[in-house]
Symmetry: D2
Subunit: 345 residues, 4 copies
């Protein structure tokens, strides 16, 4: 496809708007329509200023538009599967935020529909497009550190979400660590086979009220023999802490946080630099643009998307295994989760 | 002025196009016209894709357009003064690339015309808008390092320009170090009174053929008693090297280079990170956008521009003093340069 | 005790000699005798040069010497308990290399004998005296990062030991990670209650031959609710990798590796610094001196030693638990190990 | 000479005692005698504890002792030349603190006497033995950065000396920057030909009272075409600031400050590490030992000392040129200083 890709955005919350802004910066994409149940004056003004003409409350209108090539599913998680099924049936390429669903069987059904329809599906694991992590992956793939042996990921949010969000988030493993599970697979270049997760409530007792944790260490065993570890916290007072390390037979490669600038001040108290970039919108600003660019390129050239539905499914599997491990207090094999629909506590 | 600022671009070379791209990303600016003596099919295609309708070979047409609020003078240096005079006469705000001219008297005439016309003039010292240097300046201004005592600037290009460019560049001090002279004034918050420049030809003998140098150390004395030093080279094989330090009675603040990522690889040979960002287009990418945003904001709100004509004049004065110092082998007072027209060797 | 502390060294291998050299640099200590079963010409020459007069093959002679205040047990692990019992019976203060034994019951007997004898016992966990880790501990203790929540330790050797050493080492957890287990308790300021260890053989199949692993990730749960993780490898090709992080409610504190110098070279290929200091003798050079200084000070002033027998016992307990966890594939509570003598596989 | 080198220390102030302590740590050196005009109970106790038997108030007794191989001249600057002359006449090797004298002619006479006597003379430029700067020099010598083009030295003390010291110090250039002048020659591998120094009184007006400065920038031109710059301050509130950079045709090599540890704390206010090591005794602790080791090795093996009398003379020459340049406000050629005796203002 050499022409401009026409896109419909479903769900005009924060992330939907961000994707729309990025699409506007691409020469070969166009935002043809936006649907949101709360579409109103504010959204219309926002869209008008950006030359986006069609606003609707009905996602079906977007999916049914024959002019639209691809849809971005940015609505709440429980709508992802029905929208994916509808979009696939309509022959649209799909960009879907993570997770596809909280239920492995449902996610698998969605993927199967996508496969049958022959459309592309990309999952919103934006961190793979981060300048740091992408470079780490390249170096690993090029064999610069030999065979990967230990994968380490530090992933801590600057502050916990609101209680209401916690309740319906799916929990730390499904909502937050799922990005790290995808990153672990991406960096290791291998599938996870076993998971042991140790969770704790150290930040705020509200997490315990919802059966959730706010702090966790997850150990992973990969198919290729490597082992991995992820530590998560819902609150790092110094800002968003996102670092990785891949250690291998030939060396080690690390990616540090990004900082707002390189300024260091030395005074009588010490040598000080600013905190890392505050949160994901700042840290992954460029990555959000790059993931969209990649998706549009794939549609235009027919090359495979960089994060497909199977990647989404596998990260969900690991998240389910981690939840179960934390609950049962023992390592859990991904195999134990089959058949998919049965693994919920 | 609450409305959109209509801009005309004069000179559609690399920098003219960059400014145009950035103006397109601002909600409150519009590129109304572009003039370039070589305007042709390629430029028209470039402009059409961006929705810029009017392309002309005649800068007068742009300056004479009553709808246009501001012009960007991105044409060769020898056209800056006549274009500034014409734009001022037409009541346009002016964004002018550095230097305004190679002749202090001419520059002063241009500034006088701008002053009489009551229009705004901003000089293209983009580095003041760099996230690092801007932060250094803020910390100095806030008194975080006490009274500034030593200003140090490292400024090295990754590779020398073509011989043809060298010939008409005005020399290292006027073409390259002029950015550093502006940075020195910016960081010190004080005027330069005396300059001692030591140049050398160590990179390529072609510089000597044109009476130029490719390596230099310049010592500055500021009005507030501080002293400063700048080192320049036309070729740093490891990339663009742009660092500053302000040392004061209460501490020191430094800004390091920017790197493409934070990745570090440790292997049998050492601990390695990538080279700094290659050159000014990469390093100052955001700064170019920010300087334009600042200019448009000033026009809309009436607030003073952050780099005005006087800043351009002073940097030129220091550049002239540095050239003279290198030639005479002694320190030169800025006072010696008056009357302006007479200082050329 | 205001006078010079007279020391006997038992075992004149590498570590015994290092301790002797350091004692020679202290004003308030004296090496009165050295015993080694292989005592001969070479050792006598070494000792003579340093003014150490008495060399014997009989450790009993050292322990029985009424002039000697303290003994350093630097002989093979299987001699630690009998020598400790004998030294305690003789009323000597004891500095003992780790581990006290491979058997918790035996270790407890030795500690009990020390307690009854009223002598001091310090275990050779030299890393607590490292300038980096000591400072991390201070900052944690001062509450600078609030309540500790996550303890992370990276501990990788530059190259694996000889096969013969592997066979009798007690395995990665007892021989190598035991230092990290002590460090974890030290940094957390809390006892470990549960251990989950995941081992792998990725460096050299010889480890598998001896039922050992060469790569491991160990998750710890502390009494105060904090969680911890240690990753170990027997071979980091870039040198000794010894880093820690303590993350808490008020921030995070990290200690990086030490490097031979601060030199960085930037060239066409990147920005490069040398590898970290090669191995423990280089990295912990000062720490070895400081631990001896601390022990001698404790003897002279009667203040408690900084690493006592109980610290030795607890690290052994964690090591046993880690071995069992890796073998059984499930988390192990330290409580499960009682009664001590029964926990061996 | 295969035997132990017997050393006499002349002047038992701080630096004399430091050298003595280091000599005691070398296997092949012995401190045979110490002279100090104020020799008394305190010094005798200090020496007795270290097994140094002979203490005298008469330097002549040390120099005249036929058993002594080498003398360390650690007495006030105005005694360096007569003591050097006497020691050379007595056939002793000489380690002399910098500067040899404040008068180039006198220094040259001392060097001439040393030459005629055929003894070795090492000057106390300890920084050449610093682990960082030594490595920088090695990399430059190995051609790792191609041809050196720019030498940059930052050298700032943590706090100014007492007024009484300032008065008789010889001034910033002769007392403090002289180390940097030696470092510049060492790093460049070339002689300085021209000096331009810009001084200022920004730290404390007391410096002006003694005709001295407390802040300075010195530009150097080397014989091989390279240029250099040194910035000095008598007070960096964040501690001793000692950094160098050599920039060349093939890259750049830098050495940063040394820090007491590698600990970094991240909290709500920023990312903080401790200040650099406080002053020269901390920063150059190992370098002081290494310079003595080198001197003793040279005596034993007959290999040339690493910093000889000529190095001392050249650094003094540059210091005189810098003082003159700062006074006259123009660059000064080292050639202008001849004949040596005449250059004083």
């Amino acid at each position: 496809m050499g022409k401009t890709v026409k896109v419909g955005i479903i769900g005009a919350g924060r992330i939907g708007k961000i994707h729309a802004e990025h699409l506007l910066r691409l020469d070969d994409a166009e935002v043809a329509a936006i649907s949101d149940p709360l579409a109103g004056g504010e959204l219309e003004a926002w869209a008008a200023k950006r030359g986006i003409r069609r606003i609707t409350t009905d996602s079906g209108e977007v999916i049914g538009d024959p002019e639209i090539d691809a849809v971005f599913i940015c609505s709440p998680t429980n709508t992802h599967v029905p929208l994916t099924l509808a979009a696939a049936a309509a022959g649209k390429h799909i960009f879907c935020e993570k997770p596809v669903s909280m239920d492995l069987q449902r996610t698998q059904e969605a993927l199967e529909a996508v496969r049958r329809a022959g459309v592309m599906m990309q999952i919103g694991f934006n961190r793979r497009f981060d300048h740091n992590f992408k470079r780490v992956r390249e170096l690993v793939r090029e064999g610069r550190i030999g065979e990967p042996q230990i994968i380490k990921i530090t992933s801590r949010d600057p502050s916990p979400p609101a209680a209401d969000y916690i309740r319906r988030s799916g929990g730390l493993f499904m909502d937050m660590a799922i990005h790290d599970f995808d990153m672990a697979r991406f960096l290791a270049g291998s599938e996870v086979e076993e998971v042991y997760a140790k969770g704790a409530v150290l930040v705020d007792p509200v997490f315990a009220e919802y059966g959730d944790v706010d702090t966790a260490i997850t150990t992973l065993r990969f198919k290729n023999g490597a082992i991995g570890v992820i530590d998560n916290s819902r609150r790092a007072v110094y800002g968003y802490d996102q670092r990785v390390e891949v250690f291998g037979s030939g060396g080690s490669v690390t990616a540090d946080n990004d900082f707002p600038n390189s300024v260091v001040i030395s005074h009588g108290e010490g040598v000080v630099r600013e905190k890392p970039l505050y949160f994901f919108l700042e840290r992954y600003k460029e990555a959000f643009l790059e993931e969209i660019r990649g998706f549009i390129d794939s549609i235009r050239t027919g090359s495979p998307v960089e994060v497909d539905g199977f990647d989404g499914l596998q990260a969900e599997r690991i998240a389910h295994a981690a939840k179960r491990s934390a609950r049962l207090g023992r390592p859990v094999l991904l195999n134990e989760l089959e058949p998919a629909g049965k693994q919920h506590p």
